[in-house]
Amino acid sequence: MTETQAQPAQQQTAEGAAETLQNLTLAKSLNNGLRAAMEADPKVLVMGEDVGKLGGVFRITDGLQKDFGEHRVMDTPLAESGIIGAAVGLAMRGYRPVCEIQFDGFVFPGFDQIISQVAKITYRSQGAWSMPLTVRIPYGGGIGAVEHHAESPEAFFCHIAGIKVVACSNAHDAYWMIQQAIASNDPVIFFEPKRRYWEKSKVDTANKPDTTFSTVVRRPGDQVTLIGYGATMPVALAAADAAAAEGISAEVLDLRTLSPLDLDPVLESVRHTGRAVVITEAPREGSLASEVAARISEEAFHSLAAPVQRVTGFDTPYPPSKLEEEYLPDLDKVLFAVDRALSY
């Protein structure tokens, strides 16, 4: 069954439930989620560059070192291979490390550890080891930053079996998904849409969701399915609004899990609408959008009224920030793809 979950349903607000709904930024919500995970399990550690006194360059770990101490919130030496490789060893000793990578473009010195150890240890040891570690990566563009600070490298990670890759898109999900990632006995690469850090939305901190990382319908519709995740969700939702104004009914899906994909809700939606547009900020070739498009055409071919459309970055390096608006998927590009799908 497709789970329909826009933001936490406010209309259900009964007596008392209102107190559990807070209007928070995605950043603050992540901070709360990390705090909750650290309170729940003394083995949870936070480690990375500048995560201590500074609270991370985005302040996601703000106040955690003060409250949990320098042994649980560690400023590490400036080395991503070190951060992730050492986290592997800590995980072997029963800890649950949460590694912060400062920006998307800086994960690559740690990529070897992720591919060669993090992802393969459970498989290699026939289950003798589990790898309960989380790697948090602020990703994506749109903040006017210099090179290496605006990339969407998720497809590299999706290609690696043995790790889960997820992306949160709003404050409520951020709060729960980070806790689920930390509680997972498998390693999770946790993508945070940095340009959405400061957007506020309603967070229900009382009612723990039972599904983990599943694909959700953010907005029901009939004529075309818009599929996004992380930073592109507000773009998809805005496009659905704009399409509605033109009399086109678009369904919007948030993948949440990028690997392994939770595909059934996607197929169910496409079988209903017959058309799909997949949105990602990453370059097109070999992107997650390509994988989703391929799976739809393999498994829902007879339901398709048009080829699956992809709205992506270009197959170029991320451009200088003055050009990022041209590069990034936006409302117009999504509507253009919707038109293409509908007029096929």
């Binding site: 560059e49 500048d50 201590g52 006194k53 500074l54 609270g55 360059v57 985005f58 302040r59 703000d62 003060k66 400023d75 590490t76 030496p77 400036l78 080395a79 291979s81 070190g82 400062q102 920006f103 473009g105 800086f106 690559f108 010195p109 903040i143 006017g144 930053a145 210099v146 090179e147 290496h148 600070h149 850090y197 400061w198 097109r284 070739e285 270009f314 197959d315 170029t316 390096p317 451009p319 200088p320 920030s321 003055k322 050009l323 041209e326 590069y327 117009d332 590009k333 253009f336």
Partner: protein, 425 residues
Amino acid sequence: MAADPPVGQAPAETAPTVGPRPPDAAPGADGADGVDVGAQAAADRNPADEHMARGLRATSNSPDLIQLLSPEGVFTPHPDFPLEVTADLLKGLYRDLVLVRRFDREGNALQRQGQLSIWVPLLGQEAAQIGSGRALRPQDFAFPSYREHGVAWCRGVDPTELLGIFRGTDHSGWDPVAARFHDYTIVIGNQALNGAGYAMGQAFDGKVGSGDPDTDEATIVYFGDGGTAQGDIHEGMVFAAAFDAPVVFYCQNNQWAISEPIEKMTRVPLYKRAAGYGMPGFRVDGNDVLACLAVTRWALDECRSGNGPVMIEAFTYRMDAHTTSDDPTRYRLADETEHWKLLDPIERVRAYLAREGLADKEFFDFVQAEADQLADRFRTFAVAMPVPTHERIFANVYTDPNPQVQRQQQEFDEYLAGFDSEAGQ
């Protein structure tokens, strides 16, 4: 680099709750004329145990600090690093230091006024950069990280060419081949290996050890104290040593890697690591432009003549925030910065020039006026920089035109044209 949320997005700041870091080495605290500038500041700041990381004293107090010009402006020749100090040399260096500081401050101001998305200040590190930069010969090659505006200046890169990166109009703004000054490298440590490989090429090409200082080449690689933790720096040194590459590893130890103090990176003074790679290592007073010049010149000549690699640790201090997005009040105390103000790299040159009667008021005024003109030119250029057209997105992805990239560009052109025709309707 730049780490950090766009300004204004960080939550309200709280002052750091823990005490000061231990007394810093205060390069040249014992001035040659007996004035102990740093002692009082140091005595006031006795660290509590929890502030005393293992090995810290060794990290910050080194008897081996090479200094030629004390913070009070007293010159003492060094037996191993001779330098002919003329009025022209000093005045030239003074001018470099002042001009570079001036446009660096203008960079900060431009960012504050919304003209740049970020600026990476070099304040406090002028001598470390000008001293080493002026030691380079035209045929040498430099690999900067991202704060080396002073080295760029010495390589003939016009300060306005630095602006594109920080205004977001491009990823680099000068011709690295012509300037023999590589593009800024933002991913910490990458350039150490690139520099090692470049230097290997210099050696393979027979440009080392011919005995002709006008044609023999050397390479210099710049990185920070934080960078020394990164695997690439280690591997760069291993490669350079394995191939006897003519490269100077020049570490500007400015005591901080964003919010992390040097104690997070090392137990031993950084220059001592050189021994482990089998190369000579020196710690130079990074706020002493003459020491930086003399030691770097010596090191480059060693490399040029086939005795590379060499490591230099320039002991200095980051006087400003990490970048304009950073808020250092969250993690360090103003006392520390105040202390380092006494060790200012420019004041000591000025003091020496004035005391020895090598320069008069007219000279100082002239340099100041020149600096203000440069800042004006820098500003005027910055605010007038055009936004590149979208063709830039698709340019230079490959050396040859690529069908896939061309097709995406064409589709995008058509897509944009669609809006124009809509607008025209």
